[in-house]
């Protein structure tokens, strides 16, 4: 079970990152996921430069293959991240979606 306290601390940062746009700098498609991501695989991850120049590493959602390229515009959204156990707290986090 993921620590609810860690989830709580992490989620305090989400509000700041929500509602931002940016562009993909580089990406890869994860076909062999780590624990806690098997339902979501395969999924792309990308280094994204947000307007304001900060860079993040995030999962890409609602994507089409032709949207995975350097320069693709994206926006930040909130989604579930690590798959929680049946009785655990659900972690939410920032992912990016092509626009």
């Amino acid at each position: 079970m993921i620590s609810p306290v860690k989830i709580w601390r992490n989620q305090k940062h989400i509000a700041k990152q929500l509602g931002q746009t940016g562009k993909i700098i580089s990406w890869s498609l994860i076909r062999v996921p780590p624990e806690g991501f098997s339902e979501q695989a395969p999924y792309p991850i990308a280094v994204v430069e947000l307007t304001g120049k900060a860079k993040i590493l995030a999962q890409v959602v609602d994507w089409k293959i032709n949207e995975l390229h350097r320069g693709q515009k994206v926006k930040t959204v909130v989604r579930k991240t690590i798959e929680a156990t049946q009785d655990g707290v659900i972690p939410y986090g920032i992912k990016v979606k092509p626009i």
Partner: protein, 382 residues
């Protein structure tokens, strides 16, 4: 600096189902002690390099554990820096000797990775990355794949060039009785292997391995010995999003520059290197970032067979088979690199011996480049 490598030892690397971490350690250390001509009582401290024992096996406090296991009642330390744990332990041991606190010390790198499911190991290895990377579902192949893509876009590096790195290292490993994969492979086989994280395929990635390596370091001189003449460490951001560049691991550049200055040698003086090829792209980055080859030019030269035993014009890279083919028991790798270079400089590598090895370099990286450790070793002349 002049720290003598008195003795070396390493286990066979591979899926060692029946061999516990304690047994792996005993095997490597026994070889090192015999090789050194030392006795137990001469060893004054123990440095243990390991990354995953706490995370996967719930066992920490490895300094105390292995000191007891090896019958050494000495100060014992555990050093961790993800995949650079081995190099960092060597560096820490060097500092221990340079401080005047110890004359002779034992460095043991040991890792047991096959006791757990691949997905668990993959997650545990992400302990070397940032929390943001873990929450994104990133894996090491994925992060290095991002670096690969950027490198391809910037320099035209091809999948074939990447595959050539794996082919070369498998060829070298086929000559190494301690390697995990003692079998050559072809470029076609690499290109055909299944995609793990686009564009990196299964055969672009180093395996999951059990193994241990040990070296005894001393301020004592020996006639036919090998010395460490530079030991340098550099750091960079934990996650790749915060890096200045996605096509350079600047920690490698910084550590190697300091090592060249410390040792007084430069790239052209070096005949053999063991670099951190956790993924094929990492070998390309290593040679570029340490100034052996210009940025973007490794790809072509590797495809043509350069850096291979018997064909290399400049330097042989990863004569042991590297992480890719010799195997990558995370904590042991940095120590194993010292073992390989030492034995190349002593002429003990048999069918994979480089004919004129006088100076060698090891390059050990933690995570996606957050830590880099570079050692330079030289054969002592009488």
């Amino acid at each position: 600096m002049n720290i003598t490598v008195l003795g070396t030892g390493m286990t066979v690397f591979g899926e060692r189902w029946e061999t516990s971490p304690r047994a792996l350690a005993r095997d490597a250390v026994k070889q090192a002690i015999v090789d050194s001509g030392c006795e137990h009582k001469h060893i004054q401290a123990l440095y243990v390099a390991n990354m995953l024992s706490g995370m996967l096996g719930m066992q920490g406090h490895l300094g105390a554990l292995f000191a007891e296991e090896l019958g050494l009642s000495v100060p014992a330390y555990t050093v961790e820096g993800a995949c650079a744990s081995g190099g960092l332990a060597i560096h820490t041991a060097v500092l221990g000797i340079m401080s005047g606190q110890y004359d002779t010390v034992l460095v043991l790198g040991v890792e047991k990775m096959t006791d757990h499911k691949p997905e668990q190991v993959s997650s545990a290895l992400m302990g070397a990355g940032s929390n943001e990377e873990r929450l994104a579902g990133a894996t090491f192949p994925g992060l290095y794949a991002i670096l690969t893509r950027s490198h391809m876009e910037a320099y035209g590096t091809t999948e074939k060039a990447l595959a050539s790195v794996a082919v070369k290292n498998h060829y070298h490993a086929s000559l190494n009785p301690k390697a995990q994969f003692q079998k050559s492979i072809t470029v076609e086989a690499v290109l055909r292997s299944s995609c793990v994280a686009d564009p990196l395929k299964l055969l672009d990635c180093s395996p999951v391995t059990d193994g241990a390596a040990a070296v005894i370091l001393s301020k004592r001189k020996t006639n036919t010995g090998v010395s460490i003449i530079a030991s340098q460490v550099a750091s960079d951001t934990l996650g790749i999003a915060e890096r200045e560049s996605l096509t350079t691991l600047i920690a490698s550049t910084r550590a190697s520059e300091k090592a060249f200055i410390q040792s007084g040698v430069s790239q052209k003086d070096i005949q053999v290197v063991e670099v951190h090829d956790c993924f094929t792209i990492a070998e390309i980055l290593a040679l570029e970032d340490m100034g052996f080859v210009k940025k973007g030019e490794v790809g072509n030269r590797i495809s043509e067979g350069e850096f291979t035993l018997g064909k290399a014009k400049q330097v042989v890279v990863n004569s042991s088979g590297g992480l890719k083919a010799c195997g990558h028991p995370v904590g042991a790798t940095g120590v194993k690199q010292i073992v390989e270079i030492t034995n190349q400089l002593r002429g003990r590598c048999k069918s994979r011996q480089i004919s004129n090895a006088r100076v060698g370099l090891t390059h050990n990286v933690g995570g996606t480049g957050a830590t880099a450790v570079v050692h330079i070793l030289r054969k002592d002349t009488i």
